[in-house]
């Protein structure tokens, strides 16, 4: 045995944080460290089941169900039959509504994308459009929870929690699963909860996100904070002095107890917390990003500023080693004012998303970062009130990019109008199975024993849609 190996990374972290060396310790340099760091920690990086195509995820979650027939699902027949009775209304006749926006082909792949996403369209060859998504129920709360946990019927862990449980995280100085401005309704914390998985796998919520929730738009972007991250009272030195005293007390107790892993855990978690205080604000601080980068994300422009900041935060987080980042944005529930509101929603996110994809690519991160865009379901091809669309769970679209996904591809299809997925249907379970597979996890093997049986994200379903792989 090589005695040098006895000096573990944990010792290193401890020694750097117990003097003033901690100030120099920057998390930003640790993202590439994929080797097991703190093996005792449940968050330590774990071996996936097979070679992963993606190492981390950014999920752009569009709350309220964006219209697929106006964005990523081109329906020429719907344009032709504009104004015909669909025979499907739930309060009088429901007339088919052609998308008010034009679709055209983009990139070498020639994917059809609507003019609502001119910037994202420039990345057409990186996108894998899934046009055949479907989910069980056309109600926001249930579908939103199902999208996150696989089921609305039972209390189950969320996708991010499963990913973290399966893979651990790369930076022990930051939470492994961060969700920015999650909506408090539609299942609230359930959507980033850990349910029966150990609590350490639950998502860390950043930003309040709440005030906008009952207003026109959800999502924040301006003030992204981790709860209690900042000490409003002491200087860093004074706080370190205070913490040193706490740790003196803790070590005294440990000495007295002889051996006590719980106290050891307390000591470690305080050091992590202390480092997080220092590092998380650095990660969340975008002031040092270049003007060019900020412009790329649309930061500074009133329309795109909020979402642009969220996207830039997401990039900085995954760059710092966070495993799973989710950004919630909404509201996309256009029962009315479709023309004005959908356009507004898209304007807010188009440039930031394109900026995110471009930035990830130029930093060499896109190849192993999975970017997902989508909402809980889609909308009806027929109109509601002349300028709106109703809920549609039987067919809708999502897209994925980067992280081992085959770019410039279109998976599956809905019927001629966009009501139902008919070809290569992708259920939420299938999508979950595929996302896990991209991360190197077998959805049938990623289990947790609870109440006497092994549970999975995909329950007893799920099909890995291999056509999405590059």
């Amino acid at each position: 045995m090589n005695p040098d190996l006895g000096f573990s990374r944990r010792h290193f972290l401890q020694s750097t944080s117990s003097g003033f060396g901690y100030l120099a310790f920057s998390a930003l340099s640790t993202w590439a460290a994929d080797e097991p760091a703190i093996s005792a920690s449940p968050l330590a990086p774990k071996q996936p089941h097979f070679a992963p195509r993606a190492k981390r995820v950014i999920f752009l979650c569009m709350k309220g169900a964006p219209s697929h027939v106006d964005t990523f699902d081109y329906k020429p027949q719907l344009i032709k039959d504009n104004g015909k009775d669909s025979g499907r209304g739930r309060g009088g006749p429901a007339l088919l509504l052609a998308s008010p926006w034009k679709f055209s082909q983009h990139g070498r792949s020639g994917l059809y994308i609507s003019e609502l996403f001119p910037e994202v369209a420039k990345h057409a060859d990186d996108l894998c459009l899934i046009n055949s998504m479907h989910t069980d129920l056309p109600n926001h709360p249930q579908a939103f929870v199902q999208m996150h946990t696989g089921t609305a019927q039972f209390i189950r862990p969320s996708l991010g929690a499963w990913a973290l449980y399966g893979l651990g995280t790369q930076n022990q100085n930051l939470p492994g699963f961060i969700t920015m401005d999650p909506p408090p309704n539609n299942g609230g914390a359930r959507n980033y909860g850990s349910a029966f998985l150990p609590a350490i796998y639950q998502g860390t919520k950043i930003g309040s996100g709440f005030p906008g929730q009952f207003g026109r738009r959800g999502g924040g972007g301006a003030e992204e904070t981790i709860s209690n991250i900042k000490n409003e009272r002491f200087t860093t030195e004074a706080q370190r002095t205070q913490l040193d005293f706490v740790q003196t007390l803790n070590r005294a107790k440990m000495q007295q107890d002889g051996y006590n892993p719980q106290v050891e855990g307390v000591i470690e978690s305080y050091e992590l917390a202390f480092r997080m205080q220092n590092i998380a604000p650095q990660v969340l601080d975008i002031s040092k990003e270049t003007e060019a980068t900020k412009k790329l994300y649309g930061i500074g422009d009133q329309t795109t500023d909020a979402f642009g900041k969220q996207c830039l935060h997401a990039r900085r987080m995954i760059e710092a080693g966070v495993r799973f980042v989710e950004i919630a944005q909404g509201n996309w529930d256009q029962h009315r004012n479709l023309r004005a509101d959908l356009e507004k929603n898209c304007n807010e996110i188009d440039k930031p998303i394109a900026g995110l994809l471009a930035d990830l690519k130029s930093r060499g991160l896109l190849k192993d970062t999975l970017v997902i865009w989508g909402g809980e379901f889609g909308r009806t091809p027929h109109a509601q009130g002349g300028d709106g669309r109703d809920h549609n769970n039987t067919g809708f679209s999502m897209w994925m990019a980067g992280g081992g996904v085959k770019g410039g591809t279109k998976i599956g299809a809905t019927d001629e109008y966009g009501y139902e997925a008919i070809d290569n249907k992708v259920h939420i379970h299938d999508w979950h199975a595929t996302v896990l597979a991209l991360l190197g996890l077998d959805h049938e093997k990623l289990t947790y024993r609870y109440a006497g049986r092994d549970f999975r994200l995909t329950d007893v379903s799920g099909r890995v849609v291999k056509e999405m792989f590059s």
């Binding site: 709360p141 709860s227 030195e237 005294a252 006590n260 049986r453």
Partner: protein
């Protein structure tokens, strides 16, 4: 078994052809089958419907003629000549939503046409050789009949028998029968109990364990000074008699009862009156309600005899146990909603009282325990024959508001919210009337528009419905004169009891055979008979609380043990089934269960007996030899070092800072927040306001728990939780270091400590006394001095840099450090 590739299966099946079979078919028929049918079957069906499949689905095999004709769970797959009756055709045409085959991708129209042609020509099928294999595979996969008698052999279904106190080698050690039972297991494994706890640690442990609060320095002093032999017994008696006992132990039960004040799930509206159940639980523990009575009242309190209106009201409140669960309020199908509510009730009561996962038998027979699906629906019938009343009002996403129970002023109970005057009440009435009129008009307009072929304004109608719901709920809170009504959640019997159908896969659209109401057979041979009249809840209550029920006493004594030692004798607290853990000391568990019943199901007596054992009074010190043999201390060679539960940590901080309000608040802030969406918005503000009463009374809104609870492993308020997690995560450290409320309490403690002494050494000693129940050692004094001098250096440095003057916070920083330390957060 390894899964064979479909192509291999194809070859295997082909090779089993015999000449005799083939002879019966014409060449065309044979050709048609081999070219058009068999390849499709082999490629797309055999993966799940062949004897060689890893897992045969739906009981259906398609790899032999006979098995295809016989069919699966749903009936024959192939009926020669009859398209409509051949389920295989329905399946491949995706005619039934629940039977779309192959599930991943529909076959092409041409292939479907081939199958139709094949059925029409009489489904000629040359296969035969594999019938035998198929039959045996089919038998293997055929529904296994659950053998109840066989199932009763599992340890948990046998009645507990009080063991004779075992002989032990170290005869001086045991103080009680419990000790003998523990020691005999330790000796078997060559383990030796560690030393007894120091008196100082013991009184701190006992006070936290019984009341969730630390002892005052005076209480510690008094206990140390009392050298009588029954000093600890007296201390325990005093603590058991404290009203804080019920607040702490009631909260334990509320974890099990998945107590919360909102619907959770997708439409998380408030339950403004859930707190009555919380208060009932706390009182039940304080008053020493026998556990069997405690069960009965929660299941059927409304059906029990009562002394007076107050007694009756309390018993009704107790049934809130069945009503406070999470509910999918926006489920559209009312029958499905009822099935979900019933399922939640069955899941909760079976885990809470019996540590049995009966809900696993909802969709099919229990896979591991001897519980047929029939038993689940027998139980479901009882609950469906009762109406669950939980309040909430009609709103856009709430399709299932329900009534509440009005206990009436004569109940003498507190309403939990302020009344209004008569004219305000009249104004509410007026608004309701106006809204009703508007809605009638708008609905009429909508119908008119619809019949004229014009579009209707659905959104306006929905908004009106929401306003109406809100308004109705407000009106219903008050008497005509504006006095607050005395409202509660709970359960009532329906007028006519019903028996439930067995719902295939738990789906409301698939009812099957109806089963009479009854119980889980394996638990009790002679279950009470359900009378034709009532719902059967009274009988259910008796069944759950019967002395002959082998689970009830064991499950509760195991919980009591867990709440005192940090680990159950059966470590899977809520699952005593075959997939749960076995008891590490079955004799001890049986002893406790029988003693519990002998002592009239008294929780306090059980706790007292356990705490007076030497086992409870062991130190929590490490012992390397023991540790190697039993690292998790499953056999109790020492006391576990236990983390303070979230509530105790907060209460202790309030306590040492002198800020704890020891009196229970009236009702809950949830009740006063208001109804519907409005109430929910109000709650977001309320949750962040500081409260000074005990944590047991903090608002428990599902998925919106107060940070001080959720950060420290509070139970998931939607799930039965007999065993909380214990995590060490940085967010806890951030909270204790940086949270403004924690800093405020540190200031308060600092003021107290500073005023308590003449000099710093005395103040430091008093601070340690207050926080840890012990004086500061010399090392502590030295460490404290070092802290203060370093802190002042930092403060001066800050001042020199024109920063804030933080020197005034020195004592606060010191006190905060004491509260943040492991010694404060863990019990020896």
């Amino acid at each position: 078994m390894k899964l064979l590739a479909p192509s291999l299966l194809y070859i295997a099946a082909f090779s089993t052809l015999t000449a005799a079979d083939v002879n019966k078919l014409t060449d065309e028929q044979l050709n048609f089958f081999e070219r058009k049918i068999r390849p499709v079957l082999a490629d797309t069906c055999y993966e799940c419907h062949a004897a060689t499949a890893k897992k045969v689905k739906g009981g259906l095999l398609l790899d032999s003629k006979e098995s295809a004709l016989r069919g699966g769970d749903n009936g024959p797959a192939v009926v020669p000549g009859k398209l409509e009756e051949s389920l295989i055709i329905r399946a491949i045409k995706w005619a039934d939503k629940d039977m779309e085959m192959p599930p991943k991708k529909k076959l092409s129209d041409a292939v479907i046409a081939d199958f139709e042609a094949w059925i029409k020509m009489g489904a000629p099928d040359p296969r035969g050789g594999s019938v035998e294999g198929a039959a045996s595979a089919s038998a293997k996969w055929k529904k296994k009949e659950i053998n109840i008698e066989e199932g009763r052999k599992h340890w948990a279904y046998q009645l507990p028998v009080k063991p004779a106190p075992p002989a032990v080698k170290n005869i001086d050690w045991p103080k009680s029968d419990i000790d003998k039972l523990v020691l005999s297991k330790l000796e078997e494994k060559n383990l030796r109990p560690v030393r007894d706890a120091e008196k100082r640690d013991l009184i701190r442990r006992a006070t936290f364990d019984l009341t969730g609060l630390p002892p005052t320095p005076d209480e510690v002093k008094a206990f140390l000074a009392d050298s009588s032999t029954d000093s600890f017994a007296n201390a325990v008696d005093g603590l058991l008699a404290s009203d804080h006992f019920g607040e702490h132990w009631g909260r334990h039960w509320l974890d099990v009862a998945r107590y919360a004040e909102s619907a959770g799930k997708d439409v998380n509206v408030l339950y403004p009156f859930a707190w009555r159940y919380r208060d009932w639980v706390i009182e039940a523990f304080n008053k020493g309600l026998p556990y069997n009575e405690f069960i009965k009242q929660q299941i059927a309190g409304d059906l029990m005899p009562f002394k007076d209106v107050l007694d009756q009201s309390k018993k009704i409140v107790a049934t809130g146990f069945l009503a406070i669960g999470s509910k999918p309020l926006n489920e559209r199908n009312p029958k499905q909603f009822q099935l979900e509510v019933t399922d939640e009730q069955i899941d909760t009561l079976s885990q809470a009282f019996l540590a049995t996962t009966v809900a696993c038998a909802r969709c099919h027979d229990h896979k591991f325990d001897p519980i047929p699906q029939k038993d689940y629906y027998a139980l479901a019938g009882i609950l469906m024959s009762s109406e669950t009343l939980y309040g909430t009002n009609r709103a856009v996403q709430n399709n299932h508001p329900s009534d509440l129970i009005d206990l009436g002023k004569e109940s003498g109970m507190s309403p939990g919210f302020e009344g209004i005057n008569a004219s305000e009440r009249a104004a509410l009435d007026q608004r309701l009337t106006t809204l009703n009129t508007t809605r009638t008009e708008k609905t009429r307009e909508a119908f008119a528009a619809r019949s004229a072929g014009k579009e209707t304004n659905l959104l306006q109608l929905l908004a009106l419905r929401e306003q109406l719901g809100n308004s109705e709920a407000k009106v219903n809170r008050y008497e005509k004169n504006g006095d607050p009504r005395i409202l509660t959640m709970g359960v009532y019997d329906r007028k006519y009891p019903v028996n439930s159908a067995i719902y295939s896969r738990g789906d409301a659209t698939q009812p099957g055979e109806t089963v009479p109401r009854g119980f889980v057979q394996v638990v009790l041979k002679d279950a009470p008979k359900i009378t034709a009249k009532g719902s059967g809840r009274m009988e259910l209550a008796q069944w759950l609380s019967a002395e002959q029920n082998p689970l009830t006493a064991r499950v509760m004594t195991n919980r009591i043990w867990r709440w005192l030692f940090g680990r159950g004798i059966v470590s899977s607290m809520d699952n005593f089934g075959t997939t749960g853990e076995k008891p590490v000391n079955p004799e001890l568990l049986d002893y406790l269960a029988v003693r519990f019943m002998e002592n009239g199901w008294s929780v306090k007596k059980m706790i007292r007996e356990i705490m007076l054992s030497r086992t409870y009074q062991l130190a929590s010190v490490h012992a390397p030899t023991n540790f190697l043999l039993d690292p998790e201390n499953t056999l109790n060679w020492r006391m576990n070092s236990k983390p303070l539960p979230a509530e105790s940590l907060r209460d202790a901080m309030l306590f040492v800072s002198g800020k704890l309000d020891p009196y229970p608040p009236d009702g809950s802030v949830v009740c006063r927040a208001g109804e519907g969406r409005e109430g929910m918005i109000k709650m977001f503000q309320v949750v962040s306001q500081p409260q000074y009463y005990r944590s047991a009374y903090l608002p428990i809104v599902r998925d919106q728990l107060p940070e001080t609870l959720s950060l420290f492993d509070f139970a998931d308020a939607s799930l039965v939780t007999g065993d909380r997690e214990s995590t060490n995560v940085p967010s806890q450290g951030l909270y204790l270091m940086n949270n403004a409320f924690v800093q405020k309490l540190s200031d308060d403690m600092a003021r107290r400590v500073y005023e308590s002494g003449k000099d710093n050494a005395e103040r430091v000693t008093n601070a340690y006394q207050l926080a840890y129940g012990r004086p500061a050692t010399q090392n502590d004094q030295a460490a404290s001095r070092a802290f203060f001098s370093n802190y002042l250096l930092d403060a001066n440095k800050a001042k020199a840099k024109k920063g804030p003057d933080i020197s005034i916070y020195a004592w606060s920083a010191f006190c905060q450090a004491l509260m943040a330390s492991a010694e404060f957060r863990y019990l020896n």
